[in-house]
């Protein structure tokens, strides 16, 4: 129907059998000869001065090769984009997660024991845990030299005239929403192995989502260690879950490097589950103040958002999520006047990182909850209200996003159709909707948004393609295989995708921003096109026709309209290889989409295309217990084109379940800076038994710039889930929960409050 043979097929994930049979090698499985085991000692307090440290007992323990403290860290070594985080802290700690010492020993057991023998004396300092309190004048400073707890970041914009627009609005609503810490819960915990060769070149095995940028970070570390000019090779084992958690480099990686250099042996640091909860980064928590208005007909007039983000004690990418939040704030629905101001504030809590959606779920929770409130105030049906304001192809949003393909209208139709079909709503049941916009063609957050691909073909018609892109379970290997197979008239199984080693794979900015299918896919497509050109030129000579007269399909090259003239690809390849002055088929391509960096006022066309989606949910609320049961869930996404509908559905299902956890149950509970539930018993990740029926209508808008028309779908699935659920709960029982997660306690308390009032 699509005219494609491989694109659009439900090809099972290429490594599915390996994973199902336990053969996939994760960081847990990496074991090198002579390898030592590293272990980290964390702070005992949320905020304290380190007054003394005694490592002598640890060093004396048989089997211990090295003990490092903050004093061993080269002075210039700082992690994170804000450079406020040395891998080990020498003078003071700013959160429980702060690393203060590390050990390398012959076994994990000895390393653990050694860590327990390190004695640290602290002088406890007053601490601050509430970001709004931390903004106050006399608040305790988390970093004294920084002079203020508010980070110096430029997250502020104003397009149009919000105040004038508010005066002209017929209806205005305002409210405060809050979202809390949640975490990725990757099944494979974090870990790294570092080793140096005899010439001080470094190899790091790490389950990173950013091999090329990690390489850059590690080169900086080598620089700080006085090892300028040395090489860094990053090898990525099979990744057991990313979701954004591996978009930065972390203390454990840099500590492994320092220990490996000191011991002249490979050093492995592997987190246990408790450590994974306590020492990896969360989703950015927010306090959101929103005002939104519309005219009599329901056209949005303005959106005004002020936000406070709990930055925690150190800075990772979480502090840059406001830049992505700008996307839904300025561009979800047509809204002519927009103002946004976000402050990231140091506290003595844990700190945040990228997590699927990168701020979008938080912003969309406030916007879409508020959309329903505004619709009600204007007396307009929530779905009709969304249709009045929906984005359309050809729109340019106030931020300067140029919307090309846009299936938001079709998504609304699809969800409404599915959700209104079933039985009539019973008492306690309700339906809620929420939409999303996300970058669909990458996002230029770095100087390059590119990805390279190198392709070679062998004598047997097989392809090896080396991509900069990262498969972390999301299915990029399939995307690339299916795109290349389609272009070269091969089968997916003919394509070997290599994506795990910076020594052989070209540069890529990382597996983020739902960009891999689009950017790595286009890079692979570019390389395949070049290979095809060469191959067809050779075939044209052979058949004495023009290259345009040839087709590649079903592993053969044939002359159009002349079934006699045909040759299997492998034979053609051998002919090319073994003819005098032979040719081996190789091609490369670097694709960097025409995405723009954010300008001074953040105006830009951040992505060459945007993804849209609408979620609708039917819930039942138990009015006596507050428990919310999801009866039916519909998640329609405009994906441009489904390269592999099965993996696409997997992305949407996974996104929705992650989003439902965010909406209803997940929360890293932090009290006085300390995590109270660092385990799966009390961190309420949805289990398989909690999964709900999900329908995922696919809207194909055939994006002009996407590979075979495809756009990104990695993150969108979890973006509008929480507001859809909150809106459905309101529809069901008339209470609006503005604070995630929406627990039975909160719902029941609101219901009881409501019945007191009436």
């Amino acid at each position: 129907m699509s005219g494609y043979n491989i694109v659009g097929q439900r090809v099972p994930k290429l490594d599915a059998a390996q994973k199902a049979m336990g053969r996939a090698e994760y960081i847990q499985d990496v074991k090198l000869p002579g390898m030592l085991y590293g272990k980290i000692l964390y702070s005992k307090y949320a905020h304290a001065k380190i007054t003394a440290m005694d490592i002598s007992r640890a060093l004396a323990l048989p089997g211990v090769h090295a003990v490092l403290t903050g004093k061993d860290i080269p002075p210039k070594m700082r992690m994170g984009f804000y450079k406020d985080n040395p891998p080990l802290k020498a003078d003071k700690v700013c959160c429980f997660r702060d690393e203060v010492a590390a050990v390398a020993a012959v076994s994990e057991q000895v390393a653990k024991k050694a860590v327990s023998l390190i004695e640290v004396e602290y002088e406890v300092l007053p601490a601050v845990f509430d970001p709004e309190a931390a903004m106050e004048k006399d608040a305790t400073l988390v970093h004294e030299a920084h002079k203020t707890n508010v980070l110096k970041l430029p997250w502020k914009l104003h397009y149009g005239d919000v105040e004038a627009a508010e005066k002209d609005s017929a209806f205005v609503v305002e409210d405060r929403f809050t979202t809390t810490w949640v975490t990725h819960c990757c099944l494979s915990t974090s870990g790294a192995v570092a080793l140096f060769d005899a010439s001080d070149n470094l190899t790091v095995y790490s389950n990173t989502q950013i091999p090329s940028l990690a390489q850059k970070d590690f080169l900086e570390t080598l620089g700080a260690m006085g090892l300028k000019g040395k090489r860094v090779r990053v090898i990525k084992p099979v990744i057991g879950g990313g979701f954004g958690s591996k978009l930065d480099t972390y203390a454990y990686e840099h500590i492994a490097i320092l220990l490996a250099h000191k011991c002249r042996k490979p050093v492995k640091i592997l987190f246990d589950r408790k450590e994974e909860f306590e020492a990896t980064s969360t989703r950015q928590p927010t306090v959101i103040y929103i005002r939104q208005g519309c005219d009599k007909e329901g056209h949005l007039t303005f959106r005004d958002i002020r936000m406070v983000l709990d930055n925690g004690g150190r800075t990772s990418w979480g502090a840059t999520t406001p830049s992505v939040m700008m996307m839904p704030i300025t561009s979800l629905y047509r809204v002519p006047n927009v103002r946004y101001n976000a402050k990231c504030v140091y506290t003595n809590n844990t700190y945040s990182q990228a997590m699927r959606g990168y701020g979008n779920p938080q912003a969309t929770f406030a916007i879409e909850s508020c959309m329903d409130m505004l619709a009600q105030k204007a007396g307009i049906d929530p779905v009709a209200f969304r249709r009045i304001n929906q984005n359309e192809p050809g729109d340019e949003t106030p931020q300067g996003f140029k919307i090309t393909s846009c299936g938001l209208a079709q998504c609304i139709d699809a969800v409404e159709k599915e959700l209104t079909q079933g039985s009539p709503l019973e008492d306690g049941e309700g339906i809620g909707y929420a939409s999303l916009i996300h970058v669909g063609g990458g996002a230029r957050i770095y100087k390059s948004d590119g990805c390279g691909a190198i392709l070679k073909m062998d004598d047997y018609g097989r392809v090896d393609i080396f991509t900069g892109g990262t498969d972390m379970g999301q299915g990029l290997d399939n995307m690339i295989a299916q795109i290349v197979a389609e272009e070269l008239g091969l089968l997916a199984e003919d394509i070997n995708v290599v994506h795990s080693d910076t020594d052989v794979c070209p540069w890529d900015v990382g597996a983020h921003a739902s960009r891999s299918t689009f950017v790595a896919g286009n890079a692979a497509l570019g390389a395949a096109r070049r290979a095809k050109q060469t191959l067809l030129a050779f075939g044209a000579k052979l058949f004495e026709v023009a290259p345009e007269d040839l087709v590649m399909e079903n592993r053969t090259v044939s002359v159009k309209n002349d079934p006699e003239k045909t040759m299997p690809v492998d034979k053609l390849l051998r002919k090319a290889h073994f003819s005098p002055g032979g040719t081996m088929l190789m091609a490369d391509y670097f694709y960097d989409p025409p995405n723009e960096n954010m300008g001074k006022d953040f105006r830009c066309n951040l992505s060459v295309t945007y993804s849209f989606g609408v979620h609708g949910v039917r819930v039942h609320v138990d009015k006596e217990t507050g428990k919310v049961l999801v009866k039916n869930y519909v998640a329609a996404h405009d994906v441009g084109r489904a390269i592999n509908p099965m993996l696409l559905e997997g992305q949407v299902y996974g996104g929705v379940i992650m989003g439902l956890g965010y909406a209803l149950s997940e929360e890293v509970m932090i009290k006085d800076g300390q995590i109270k539930n660092p385990n799966f018993r009390d961190y309420k990740l949805f289990t398989a038994k909690d999964a709900v029926p999900i329908m995922a209508p696919v809207i194909e808008t055939h994006d002009p710039d996407g590979p075979f028309g495809a756009k990104g779908i990695g993150e969108p699935g979890c973006v509008p889930t929480a507001p859809a659920v909150a809106n459905a709960i309101y529809n069901a029982v008339g209470v609006r929960i503005k604070d995630l997660p929406i627990t039975p306690e909160k719902v029941l308390a609101a219901i009881q409050e409501q019945s007191k009032g009436s």
Partner: protein, 300 residues
């Protein structure tokens, strides 16, 4: 994890003797779903683990048709109970409780005896056995003795078992005619969950199918040990059971409970859940009784 030696006795007597030899450096282990986790997490570090799993006969599960007494061996797994038609048909409160413990994998390994002896306030398995007036048969260095299940628990992680004692089995006396029973584990998740509150109700009614002759209301996570809400039981006994009366009983049960705030849930909400769920479980009991009465009526 601290290394340990695994001992595998063939009889209860041998197990007791092994314990006698190693004393407090040894721990008994049944399914291991709690003990192994504790060893791994470093919460206990025995030198010897005495694995009871290979002792024949400790996994008996049968009802004496003459006396009506039910015997549940201590090594009967949650899965065995869950899959037993006898349990499902005649002891729905046990089925309700064990079929929601942990996950399928945990239920395949975990035993009812281990669930009791682990002695957590949230022990799903304890509630129905208390409601059914079960008796635990213990075997130890000083011989055998019996203890009502309701008196087994001292405080979290502590039972009345003396060093070396093993839980052999639980017996449950014949159920009265017109008995209905039900349990709900109220939690946030559908699996791998500890209850925020566990509520078991057992009602016996008179021939009029309304007047309560015996009531058992048992609560988990409502205090340091699984417990009965006796004031609430007393309120029901001798009266016609209605939704209103059950709500009153629930309110009483909530009042006499010692629920707490914790990371898992707030005390006020737990109280609310006791109030609501005692009523719901009570009504479920009546439904079961009525259903059975109708079936019996049809048979006649």
């Amino acid at each position: 994890m601290k290394p340990f030696t695994l001992l595998t006795p063939a009889t209860v007597e041998e197990a007791v003797a092994m314990f006698g030899q190693h004393k407090e450096t040894a721990r008994y282990m049944a399914g291991g779903t709690d003990v192994i986790v504790k060893v791994k997490e470093g919460w206990m570090g025995p030198d010897y683990l005495i694995n009871l799993k290979q002792i024949p006969g400790l996994d008996e599960l049968h009802k004496n048709e003459n006396t009506g007494e039910l015997t549940i061996g201590s090594l009967v797994t949650h899965a065995m109970l869950e899959q037993s038609l006898l349990i499902r048909n005649e002891y729905p409160i046990i089925y309700d409780a064990v079929s929601n413990i942990g996950s399928l994998q945990v239920r395949n390994m975990g035993t009812i005896g281990g669930n009791l002896i682990n002695a957590v306030p949230s022990a799903d398995g304890a509630i129905p056995l208390i409601a059914l007036d079960g008796t635990a048969l213990l075997a130890g260095p000083a011989g055998e003795r019996s203890v009502p299940v309701k008196d087994l628990f001292v405080k979290p992680y502590e039972t009345v078992l003396t060093p070396g004692e093993i839980l052999r089995k639980i017996t449950i006396p014949a159920q009265a005619k017109r008995t209905g029973s039900a349990y709900i584990k109220f939690g946030r998740r559908a699996a791998m969950e500890l209850p925020l509150i566990g509520i078991g109700v057992l009602l016996v009614v008179d021939e009029d199918l309304v007047t309560c002759t015996r009531a058992r209301i048992c609560l988990g996570v409502a205090g340091p040990t699984p417990r009965r809400a006796q004031k609430a039981e007393d309120l029901l006994e001798g009266k016609p059971v209605t939704a209103t009366l059950l709500t009153e009983a629930g309110t009483l049960a909530a009042e006499e409970s010692q629920v707490r705030d914790s990371v898992r849930g707030q005390a006020w909400h737990r109280k609310e859940m006791i109030r609501v769920q005692v009523r719901r479980m009570g009504i479920k009991c009546l439904d079961i009784i009525n259903q059975k009465a109708q079936q019996t009526g049809r048979q006649v």
